[in-house]
């Protein structure tokens, strides 16, 4: 329940917090990346950086997290907190935030991060900006939370002037994780939070892990060959894999191809999937909805293959082929193989160092 009192004097709030998301005794990479940005903001504000880690048996993880640049970690240890659940985690965060009054709290914009932040900001009645890509501090010391709007066509500067803490979420790979220093000094503080079994109002009954495709993943690849609904059938993705293999790249997909059950969710690019920034992004049979652009428009070079010359993705293409992908892709494979056969060196991604 929310308490309807007016916002508390913001001068009582100090420190930057990062919510530490974990899974199977490992820190999620978005959390390590947030520690880096949190460190920068804490230094700018002349304050400390705290990680918050609700969990069970997570002391080693807490010490590990310090190595990325934290001053301390608050651990709340309870069997109820072993895996993420909305209400208990929100209870813990709400109680800790009321107790310590941090000025800024950062979350990963993951499914669980949004699930938690969305619930929490309503309980605490404070601002939460989703999917930020950049932060600044304005002249009055407010956090300038910068997020894309309308599918990246503009960037909005969000301020939360009267309410504290100022809260924001950030997607994976927006920031780079700082180098890990295992010798970094820092404090692990255990705190008690009142939790009762009644706080557990939903139970995780089953979990089926997505199959990890072997080989090169789109996020690591220099070249990404991505297929959309125009691929028509899952078996046609084999052709994209051939092309990707020839180029030393990885295969990805639009959400519509994923939702059609053709390819695993793990390789979805876009607003609700991953962000990729390869040297070359080849979009095959993808129309170019704003939610797709959100995950690939920062690629160095974009190639679009589509039957429809009016497909919006052509607007941001470096090169495009208007044509039937079932003719164009096999032709690309043929010509690349021919190049290879004629003795020209193997067409492949130019190593980053040579660029």
């Amino acid at each position: 329940m929310t308490d309807g009192h007016p916002p508390e004097d913001k001068t009582h709030f100090h420190g930057v917090w990062v919510f530490l998301e974990h899974r199977k005794q490992g820190l999620r990479d978005v959390s390590a990346q947030l520690i880096g940005e949190g460190r920068r903001l804490a230094d700018l504000r002349g304050t400390t950086l705290t990680g918050v880690l609700p969990g069970h048996g997570v002391d080693d993880l807490a010490r590990h997290a310090i190595g990325y640049g934290l001053d301390r970690v608050i651990v709340v240890d309870d069997p109820i907190l072993e895996t993420y659940a909305s209400r208990p985690y929100a209870q813990v965060m709400a109680q800790l935030i009321r107790r310590h009054k941090p000025e800024i709290v950062l979350y990963g914009a993951s499914k669980n991060g949004r699930d938690l932040g969305g619930r929490l900001h309503a309980i605490l009645e404070t601002g939460l900006a989703a999917d930020c890509v950049k932060f600044d501090v304005d002249a009055e010391g407010n956090l300038d939370m910068i997020r894309p709007s309308f599918g990246g066509k503009s960037l909005a500067h969000i301020l939360c002037k009267k309410h504290r803490p100022q809260m924001a979420s950030v997607r994976r790979n927006v920031f780079v994780a700082p180098p890990h220093d295992p010798t970094r000094p820092g404090e692990v503080v255990r705190e008690a939070v009142t939790l009762t079994p009644a706080d557990v109002d939903a139970a995780l009954l089953e979990f089926e892990e997505f199959t990890k495709e072997g080989g090169l993943q789109p996020e690591q690849a220099d070249i990404v060959v991505s297929g959309g609904y125009g691929m028509r059938d899952p078996k046609n993705f084999a052709m994209l894999q051939d092309l990707a293999d020839l180029l030393g790249g990885a295969v990805a997909a639009s959400r519509k191809a994923v939702d059609s059950g053709w390819v695993p969710k793990m390789i979805q690019v876009g607003q609700t999937g991953m962000t990729v920034r390869p040297k070359l992004y080849i979009a095959v049979g993808i129309s170019g909805a704003v939610q797709h652009l959100a995950g690939m428009q920062e690629s160095d070079k974009i190639v679009v293959i589509n039957l429809d010359p009016k497909a919006p993705l052509f607007e941001i293409a470096d090169y495009g082929i208007v044509g039937d992908l079932f003719e164009v892709v096999p032709e690309m494979i043929r010509q690349l193989r021919a190049l290879r056969a004629t003795g020209a060196s193997v067409p492949t991604a130019v190593p980053a160092t040579a660029r």
Binding site: R23, R119, A122, F150, L155, F207, L280, V290, I321
Partner: protein
């Protein structure tokens, strides 16, 4: 999909829908550098249409009452009427000038208050996120206000022994959650195919009386907790993104020639080696 029979079915489902401009049609005005919103056709926020379809399928299987709820200007009637024509029993529009400029905190608060006035709900459904604000914070915010169990990013719901079983899509796998009613779920975009309005549905809309308008006073919403000035966040300014200029060479015609030109360009750009 199997439910455990109609015993313990949800008696009333409230589906929260927002009307949004069609994302594909939003363009930045080259002169003013702002988004052109006038004249852009609207639609039900796509994931909300999936949430409504999920409710309609539960109604088909188990029988229940569906109330569609939206907060916004009276132009949102268009979407509420469409929802009724698709098969919702009735709809409520919370509409009041003092709500203008509300961010997700007052929106979640005002929707929660309205849901309580509607009352008698067992299941609340929202979309995973809107295409215009794209935060996904309003659904969990409502659950927080009403202190209800929440399950987000749901693609399937079964009712077993009066309890909810929901399939949730996480980053790394599929989860099945179990919880009691009343509860709130947010529904994944694309998890089903929203039906078209039916002729009988359209006739029900024509007869009128199925879209109710409430003001903040009707619901008992505290005016000091809503609107632009009571929203914690403000948009201080908006920069237009200048995406890197792209060469934009489009080849058409015979595929063999197009591919030759493409590969030659990529080699010349040193993106691929030759």
């Amino acid at each position: 999909m199997t439910d455990g029979g109609t015993a313990g079915r949800p008696r009333r489902i409230v589906v929260c829908i927002k009307q949004v401009p069609r994302a594909q049609e939003l363009q930045v005005d080259p002169v003013t550098q702002t988004l052109k919103r006038v004249g852009v056709p609207s639609e039900i926020n796509p994931p909300d249409a999936n949430a409504l379809e999920m409710a309609l399928q539960l109604k088909d299987r188990l029988g229940t009452e569906i109330v569609v709820l939206s907060m916004g200007p009276t132009s949102f009637d268009e979407s509420l009427e469409r929802a009724v024509a698709m098969g919702a029993d009735r709809s409520v529009l919370l509409t009041d000038r003092i709500l203008g400029g509300s961010d997700t905190v007052p929106t979640a608060y005002a929707l929660s208050e309205t849901i309580q006035k509607i009352g008698g709900y067992d299941l609340l459904l929202c979309g995973e996120e809107t295409t215009d604000a794209s935060t996904g914070h309003v659904g969990p915010g409502i659950a927080g206000h009403l202190d209800l169990p929440q399950i987000t990013y749901v693609s399937e719901i079964r009712i077993v022994d009066g309890k909810v079983r929901a399939r949730r899509t996480a980053e790394d796998g599929t989860e099945w959650w179990g919880t009691t009613m009343p509860c709130l779920c947010t529904v994944n975009f694309g998890c089903n195919r929203p039906r078209e309005p039916t002729l009988t549905g359209k006739i029900r809309v024509k007869r009128g009386g199925l879209v109710t308008h409430w003001s903040c006073a009707d619901v008992g919403i505290d005016p000091k907790k809503v609107g632009l000035f009571n929203s914690p966040t403000i948009v201080a300014k908006v920069d237009t993104v200048r995406l890197p200029s792209r060469s934009g060479q489009i080849f058409s015609g015979e595929p063999g020639a197009s591919v030759r030109k493409l590969l030659a360009s990529l080699v010349a750009d040193r993106v691929i080696a030759a």
